[in-house]
């Protein structure tokens, strides 16, 4: 069954939108307004994808309906316009994810240089299938398409970091380091300062 985008099934039909009690921190809001100001007057919808990245980073690495409704209100657009975009793009998670989202590239050159081995190793190590999260909620394993690292394959992405020229041993080392750091991975880590 593919009703994956429908986050609440069999819920009472309601004509009112969900209650909005999510808000950006004042820092994040300032960033959001700076982003919105880049685009011409009346075209603030262009800021939707950057704002969704910001929101995903602020709110536990995923976009709940409430978070998406909030972003819609910031841009004065309808919630459905946000849902449509959030479910189209692979980098947006509309379901909760573990603290570290591990994305292993599986296309062509990475496959030619052994990405299958990396994926199988992690599946066995964590006893999960692709798309699932470890029992302790720390790692979510995802396979993704070409990340532009074909010359340094196989590789994986965690947050904004690329980890390339992998071997099973290097993966084990990396996983240990990430676990002990205990941080939530974010695509925006490198941007927070800019």
């Amino acid at each position: 069954m593919h009703n994956e985008w429908r986050s609440t099934k069999n819920k009472q039909l309601t004509t009112k939108g969900s209650k909005v009690d999510i808000k950006f921190s004042s820092e994040a809001l300032a960033t959001a307004n700076k982003i919105i100001a880049r685009y011409p007057q009346g075209k603030q919808k262009s800021a939707l994808i950057p704002l969704l990245h910001l929101a995903q980073s602020e709110f536990d690495g995923w976009l709940s309906p409430e978070v998406m409704d909030y972003v819609a209100s910031l841009l004065s657009i309808r919630p459905i316009e946000v849902y449509e975009v959030a479910t189209f793009y692979s980098m947006f998670n509309t379901k909760p994810v573990g603290k570290c989202l591990i994305e292993v590239c599986q296309t062509s050159s990475c496959w030619l240089r052994g990405s299958d081995e990396i994926v199988d190793h992690l599946k066995k190590k964590w006893n999960i299938e692709v798309g699932e999260t470890t029992a302790d909620g720390i790692f979510t394993l995802k396979t993704v398409e070409c990340l532009g690292s074909c010359g340094t394959a196989p590789m994986l992405q965690c947050g904004s970091d690329f980890h390339e020229n992998l071997t099973v041993e290097k993966v084990d080392e990396l996983v240990e380091k990430l676990k002990s750091k205990g941080e939530r991975s974010s695509y925006l880590k490198s941007l927070v300062n800019s």
Binding site: V85, S90, T107, S108, S109, W111, G151, D161, L188, L191
Partner: protein, 436 residues
């Protein structure tokens, strides 16, 4: 050793920074263009250079620029396509990460030629760490007076912004990119109207690849005619090739167009030959979307001539015995490669990336992936091969955008050149049997 127009100073410490870049001659083309040339003169130089779009389509860049609607009173835009998602391609990432200022410099000159006051870099979301690098370079350019109001004291002003995507290969198609930039789903638009007339915000827009815009810098510096002297025929100048796969030295190489393929694969100056002392089996020369060629046909054309790294030579033989230069994503496969499984990873990619608007691509890519999955796991049937080829044929040419063609060509070419492997896969009764 061929001329390096883009990557000459790539290993200089600090070339990422404005000061080191400037010391090495950076931003000279901005001074030349803004102070001594008219916008039309800049476009003329690019036309004379014979520069072709380096993202994959190979459309003459100068001609594309000349299509921009100058009569409209709407603002014009230059949008740089940094969505690089074609499997096998990583040259734009390399360029932007190591020497971001060459892109900024090229954008200023190109925007000047097009009459754009605001320009965007649409960069794929997965390259988020490069967004920081680009923004830093842009800030430096502003601080030194090369961006913002009245650049270098002329009456030309320009703002550049970086806009991230969020994971969609289809947004590398120019109209889908513009939809995404407008905050919508990345659904390609029907053409006409073309972006040069109605692009971003229904205004005249030119969308160019990162490398294409970067190439504007040497073109203005040495002149279009000089640039055109490099290369062969209609393949002028230099190209960044992303070499990967079963070679000894994967990486990004800047080559003068016209280098023989044989030399590119085996010379230590480039790929350094096949790894583990194995033999070459097949090459995908220009990113996953172009036809795959077996070893003999990639090194020589069907007529027996040595194949060169040019648009024309690689396309010699059409789709029966040729391929395309495309994005320059050069994927090399050794004799142990399972062609069926490799094609399966491609089919899986296109199925995942189809936007879903038009029925041939939406349904057909899924069908092809499923057939190849079964063939790879030994659950295939003999009829599957002909169905696979027929599905590819029914997608080709019938879709809104080239993603359908890009999904169909690898399938058609792989079966054409490696049919025996597919037949063996279809006859096997399990994956173990195939691998044994």
């Amino acid at each position: 050793m061929g001329r390096k127009l883009l990557l000459e100073h790539i290993n200089e410490p600090g070339i990422q920074t404005f000061d080191v870049y400037r010391k090495r001659g950076g931003y000279a083309s901005v001074e030349k263009a803004l102070k001594t040339m008219s916008p039309d003169a800049v476009t003329e130089e690019v036309k004379k250079s014979g520069l072709r779009g380096r993202g994959g389509a190979g459309f003459p860049a100068g001609m594309k620029w000349s299509f921009i609607d100058k009569k409209s009173d709407k603002p014009r835009y230059l949008v740089v396509n940094a969505d690089e998602s074609e499997p096998g391609t990583f040259k734009d990432r390399y360029l932007m990460e190591k020497i971001p200022h060459v892109l900024i410099e090229g954008m200023i000159v190109a925007s000047f030629a097009l009459g754009a006051k605001t320009s965007f870099i649409y960069i794929r979301g997965e390259y988020m760490y490069i967004v920081g690098i680009l923004e830093k370079a842009i800030q430096e350019a502003y601080a030194k007076g090369f961006l913002g109001k009245n650049i270098l004291g002329t009456d030309y002003s320009l703002d550049i912004y970086v806009h991230p995507g969020a994971g969609a290969y289809i947004c590398g198609e120019e109209t889908a990119l513009l939809e995404s930039l407008e905050g919508k789903r990345g659904n390609p638009r029907l053409k006409p109207p073309f972006p040069a007339v109605a692009g971003l915000y229904a205004s005249p827009t030119v969308v160019n690849n990162v490398e294409t815009i970067a190439a504007v810098v040497p073109i203005i510096n040495i002149g279009g005619d000089e640039y055109a002297k490099i290369g062969i025929g209609k393949s002028t100048g230099t190209k960044l090739i992303s070499a990967s796969g079963h070679i000894n030295k994967p990486g990004v190489y800047e080559i003068e167009l016209g280098v023989p393929v044989d030399e590119f694969i085996y010379s230590d100056e480039y790929c350094g030959g096949i790894w583990k002392n194995r033999r070459l089996k097949a090459v995908v020369a220009g990113g996953s979307s172009v036809p795959i060629l077996p070893a003999d046909l990639i090194l020589t054309t069907a007529k027996g001539e040595p194949r060169l790294m040019t648009y024309e030579s690689l396309a010699d033989g059409g789709f029966l015995t040729g391929t395309m230069l495309g994005s320059g994503g050069f994927i090399v496969m050794d004799e142990m490669t399972d062609i069926v499984k490799n094609l399966y990873t491609f089919a899986r990619f296109y199925h995942h990336e189809s936007c879903g608007q038009c029925s041939p691509c939406r349904e057909g890519t899924g069908w092809m992936e499923k057939i190849l999955h079964r063939l790879h796991h030994g659950h295939g049937k003999k009829e599957d091969i002909d169905i696979l080829v027929d599905v590819a044929k029914k997608i080709e040419g019938n879709t809104i955008c080239p993603l359908g063609d890009a999904a169909a060509w690898p399938v058609a070419s792989a079966v054409r050149h490696f049919r025996k492997e597919f037949e063996a896969a279809a006859m096997a009764h399990s994956h173990a049997e195939l691998v044994a």
